[in-house]
């Protein structure tokens, strides 16, 4: 399959929602060490809301799906992370709009716009111990590849490494920043969610492609 259409986008988000829901408690535990312990509960509820919102759409276009996900994440999660994860999808909407199906190049642009949305909104740089530490390398790795199969595989690996890299960092954004040095030694939950997201997409793609 060389392009991704509305049905595949919906299935992809559904695959992510399922995996995030399985990892809910693990994500809560990561957040308990660095924040307020709710990241798994809220990201999972938000993705569930997203797939419900998508299911309620009538013959959606690709951008309708991306917008529904953006809104569900923002409004269902709330908090900084809702705004940030939501912005990832929101910034992709304009890139997708008008396109029926997305090829690999389109998806490069969607992910790049999403990363930019996240960074414009949240001001986090790589090294600040946030989800950007997983998202930025994943987007870059994806862009360096030529097809979806290699893209998702490399993105998943890069996201996983990026999440791991947050362990030794000292947070400069989000709640964890108030912990200072005391936060070192723990993986950032948002970064872990990004790793889970790309791993889920990669698995979904391989089971499918």
């Amino acid at each position: 399959m060389m392009t991704i259409g509305p049905a595949e986008l919906a299935a992809m988000i559904e695959a992510v929602a399922q995996r995030v829901s399985i990892e809910r408690e693990a994500l809560n535990r990561l957040d308990a060490a660095l924040g307020d312990g709710d990241h798994g509960t809220s990201i999972s509820a938000a993705f569930t809301a997203a797939i419900e919102a998508i299911a309620a759409l009538d013959q959606p276009s690709a951008s309708d799906i991306w917008l529904a996900a953006a809104k569900a994440l923002m409004n269902r999660m709330g908090g900084a992370s809702g705004a940030i994860f939501g912005s990832f999808f929101l910034k992709g909407v304009a890139v997708i709009r008008g396109k029926d199906r997305l090829n690999k190049r389109d998806m490069d642009a969607v992910l790049t716009a999403g990363l930019q949305g996240v960074q414009t909104r949240g001001k986090a740089q790589v090294g600040d111990k946030t989800m950007v530490d997983a998202l930025a390398p994943a987007v870059a790795a994806f862009a360096r590849t030529d097809d979806f199969t290699a893209g998702w595989r490399c993105a998943a690996e890069a996201a996983g490494d990026g999440a791991d890299s947050t362990r030794e960092l000292i947070a400069r954004r989000g709640r964890a920043k108030y912990l200072g040095e005391r936060g070192s030694g723990h993986i950032d939950p948002g970064a872990m969610t990004i790793a889970i997201l790309f791993a889920a997409i990669d698995d979904w793609w391989t089971g499918k492609a």
Binding site: D36, D38, N75, R76, G78, A83, I84, G122, L179
Partner: protein, 336 residues
């Protein structure tokens, strides 16, 4: 000391909705429950007045829903525990507060609150409504050094801003004037908090952070964000002597100034302790030549059942004193 993890709730997923139902039923003469988890005045303010909206995570009760009412806020948008509501709800709140003279969205400065407010304002702009503005409020001296005030967190001292601004917006004022008044009140307010214990999340049942019995943490945020550092807990007088100077020196409050004083209970401090703490605050302010105009002591912005407190001071002039004394009737703020 471990926090109490058994909460008198039903389904953890329903706590915010059930809390709002209970609150609005209990105080139906003052508030009503709108859709989208909005707490509205039972009787909306007259047309032609600036509307005041405030969003925020729950878990701080009676803040903010307790300040909706005559002489106070028009609308409170209630989020999940310690989680700012998303932009859609904020937009709904702005619409509900609109009485034709513009709406001021008040943001207690936390990343989540600010980001979602910015998103909401971007959506407002996209819709072409230009009678909405936003003011970012902060007061916690522990969260950023002097000179970087705008990076500071909003904590208990913002209570002064809601009260003063609420009274101001009962009058015939413009949106610009309302924003200026909010900034004036904010720029005269400073707070510092401490904690002796943690609290447990009613959602996850987990203790929010670890704090050993007999230790204290100075510079706590409103959500258990840890602060300037941990140390052995001191006596009441020693604690005040440690906390008051950074507040006074920051503004600075000077001899001859008049100030409102708030001792905020973060949850499970006893009033007995707070009165004993207040006694020392009064002594120290007198020594510094700072006159106390009025004082409030109690749970205003809580962090669930955390044992801790904040000292907040707000420097007042004749305008602010008159606004402070103006009548107010929120469920948890009554000025007679």
């Amino acid at each position: 000391m471990s926090a109490r993890t058994h909460k008198l709730i039903n389904e953890p997923g329903n706590i915010v909705d059930e809390m709002l139902e209970g609150f609005c039923a209990a105080y139906s003469d003052i508030v009503q429950l709108g859709g989208d988890r909005l707490v509205l005045r039972a009787q909306p303010k007259a047309l032609g007045k600036v509307g005041l909206v405030m969003g925020g995570g729950s878990g701080h009760e009676p803040a903010m829903l307790g300040w909706v009412g005559r002489g106070l806020l028009d609308v409170n948008i209630v989020g999940e525990v310690f989680t700012a509501p998303g932009p859609e709800r904020i937009l709904a709140g702005i619409r509900a507060a609109d009485r034709g003279a513009g709406v001021l969205l008040c943001v207690s400065h936390h990343e989540g609150d600010r980001l979602n407010a910015e998103l909401a304002l971007e959506f407002c702009e996209a819709e072409g409504s230009d009678k909405v503005d936003m003011v970012i409020l902060y007061d916690d001296v522990s969260s950023a050094p002097k000179g970087r005030e705008s990076e500071r967190r909003g904590t208990a001292g913002l209570f002064f801003v809601w009260k003063l601004l609420g009274a101001f917006c009962e009058g015939d004022v413009t949106l610009e004037a309302a924003k200026a008044l909010a900034e004036k009140a904010r720029d005269n307010t400073r707070s510092l908090a401490m904690s002796l214990s943690s609290c447990a999340s009613p959602v996850t049942g987990e203790v929010m952070f670890k704090l050993a019995e007999g230790d204290m943490e100075i510079g706590m945020g409103l959500h258990g964000e840890v602060g300037m550092g941990r140390q052995k807990a001191l006596s009441a007088d020693e604690t005040v002597d440690l906390m008051l100077p950074p507040i006074i020196d920051d503004l600075p409050f000077q001899a001859g100034d008049e100030a409102l004083v708030l001792l905020n209970n973060s949850g499970s401090m006893t009033l007995m302790e707070l009165f004993i703490l207040y006694r020392r605050v009064a002594v120290k302010l007198r020594e510094a030549g700072i006159r106390v105009y009025k004082s409030w002591i109690g749970p205003y912005a809580t962090t669930l059942e955390t044992a801790g407190f904040a000292i907040s001071l707000c420097r007042v002039d004749d305008q602010l004193k008159a606004l402070w004394d103006a009548p107010a009737n929120g469920a948890y703020m009554k000025q007679v």
